[in-house]
Symmetry: C2
Subunit: 344 residues, 2 copies
């Protein structure tokens, strides 16, 4: 198991180990003959560079830490995929840690990563309190938060324009003829959710319709929660013609509850989601939704982090990504319902 080192190669090639190092690093101050000869010997002996040793000197590991609440969440695993691919494209590898179940754990893995000398950290925060929780460490090392607005706190982040997203969605429903739109599942205590609700309210005011919001008093969204809370919301049914769910998960949970109540989507009720998780595109779901462009977010987060690493900067900066409406089949136009006579 003893790995082949520069010294081993040097011995065989009858040169100093410095020369071998030069051959491998493409240093020009070496004759082509020796370089070729050495490279061939390296290949034969199965030499592999020890990045650890190199890091000691270069003070760079080419490692990026990725902290996610839980990688088995489809939204996060998709982000993680694009992050890994992008990072590797720029020569960086990923150390992955789940920060669940609590802020303590999140701190612990952050410390761990710093100990491993990662060049920078990408954090998908676990809770609204995550930024405060990690502040002490993000000051030490280039860090970027992903997917949460850090409004008013001076950290770096990439986030979708949540407010614009709900405004967009509300306008879309309005254009389809909906005038009584319920906003479903605003999580109290989350900046992101606050912004989403704000966008909805703003659009309502602009369009002259009355806002109607169902709040959730929980720390995370899930299909189960969306299902449980749905029954209450669906009681309002007579009045409302469309529901704008704060997340796709909530929407999908509600979808199930609606089915049990024999409320057809979109015939009886239009349903709009937010996030565009994978599930939304499943034929059995086919949910119209306001998409967070995951690939773009991941790519920009990695690029921002690498810029910070290269400048050794911990200065805050941020980028806001435009959301995109993805039309599927869960919303229908109410316009065709109007009797033609009204137009004459």
């Amino acid at each position: 198991m003893g790995k082949v080192t520069l010294k081993d190669v040097a011995k065989v090639a009858n040169v100093s180990f410095t020369t071998v190092s030069r051959a491998l690093s493409g240093n020009p101050e070496i004759s082509n003959d020796t370089r070729d000869r050495i490279l061939k010997i390296c290949e034969e002996m199965g030499y592999t560079t020890n990045y650890i040793a190199r890091s000691m000197i270069k003070k760079k590991t080419e490692l990026i830490g990725l902290i996610v609440p839980s990688i088995d969440n489809p939204f996060m695993s998709e982000l993680a995929y694009y992050i890994e691919v992008t990072a590797r494209r720029f020569g960086y590898n990923l150390i992955l840690c789940n920060s669940h179940p609590d802020l303590n754990q999140e701190q612990k893995v952050m410390k761990l990563m710093i100990g491993h000398q990662v060049d920078g950290v990408l954090i998908i925060p676990q809770k609204p309190g995550s930024y405060e929780n990690l502040k002490r460490y993000t000051a030490l090392i280039p860090s970027v938060f992903l997917s949460e607005n850090l409004k008013d706190q001076n950290g770096s982040y990439i986030s979708v324009d949540n407010q614009r997203g709900t405004k967009l969605g509300t306008e879309y429903l309005y254009r389809l003829g909906h005038r009584s739109i319920l906003y479903y599942g605003c999580r109290t205590g989350s900046t992101t959710h606050q912004l989403r609700a704000d966008g909805y309210i703003e659009a309502c005011q602009l369009l002259g319709i009355k806002p109607n919001i169902v709040y959730f008093d929980s720390v995370s969204s899930s299909i189960e929660l969306g299902y449980e809370m749905a029954h209450k919301a669906l009681e309002q049914k007579r009045k409302i013609t469309a529901i704008f769910a704060s997340t796709d998960s909530n929407a999908i949970g509600l979808m199930q509850a609606a089915r049990e109540k024999n409320i057809r989507i979109p015939e009886d009720l239009s349903l709009l989601g937010f996030d565009n998780i994978r599930l939304a595109s499943l034929p059995q779901i086919d949910l119209t939704t306001v998409a967070q462009p995951k690939e773009e977010m991941a790519v920009r987060a990695v690029k921002m982090l690498i810029r910070k690493i290269e400048k050794q900067s911990t200065e805050p900066s941020f980028e806001i990504i435009e959301p995109v409406l993805v039309e599927r089949s869960s919303c229908r136009s109410k316009l065709f319902e109007m009797p033609l006579t009204t137009q004459t």
Copy 2:
């Protein structure tokens, strides 16, 4: 950004840096006074151990490499979640790489991980050829393959008992009264799929019913493929009463095709899957399936790898996990259809 080192602390504490090292490592050959004093100074100065430097000497990085085809696949991200949690419980961290799109890439990331001096590698193989593809490197470093049978090739692996799984499933359908069961989506060229088909055939022979298999000529399963291939398979409808899909993805794709053809599941057709991916439990899907116990597989894979690391062993070994039938609503009993008179 210059991090605090042992030397820095030593200077402040007025001791040699060895003493500081001893204080931190809990070495007993040191007075309580100095230890406490030093620990306090470390805390104040914000010292963090440089694992990189430690690794150089210990020749252990406490890092495990995880190679997955694509982390955004829900099955894999779920496995990855349990792997990370288990690994960290044993003091190991994870380096994550996606091996897509090809065997070349898989080799590249494997080399990379070895370069980073990971203590061992966990591989979710990309293709049947992956083992052969990585052989050269798995010989160098403790490695465990996960989720693929490596029958006849001498590598280490953890896999569900695929053959037993399909036997189990077929028997289940038989018990429900099905006698004409189509096996849907056997991928040619995959050992795993071969074993699954074998289990189905074996059960059929034991039960005295005729095997009926639809083969897929592709390298991976997906909902889309399951959907596309379904139309042909559903033509056989008159004769068959149940379909056993080789994977949940295939089952879900077929489900959609069935709906378009107005074939009701389970009323007109029973459907059984394999894997128990997250989607299967979605209320809108609710697919009965033969589950791969993901958590158990992940835990056992990590434990096996750590055992190898501790023994510095590259000897092959394997563990086969028992599949579990998860009943949901996509299969129905045909028994009640039989007129009672037949029993008199």
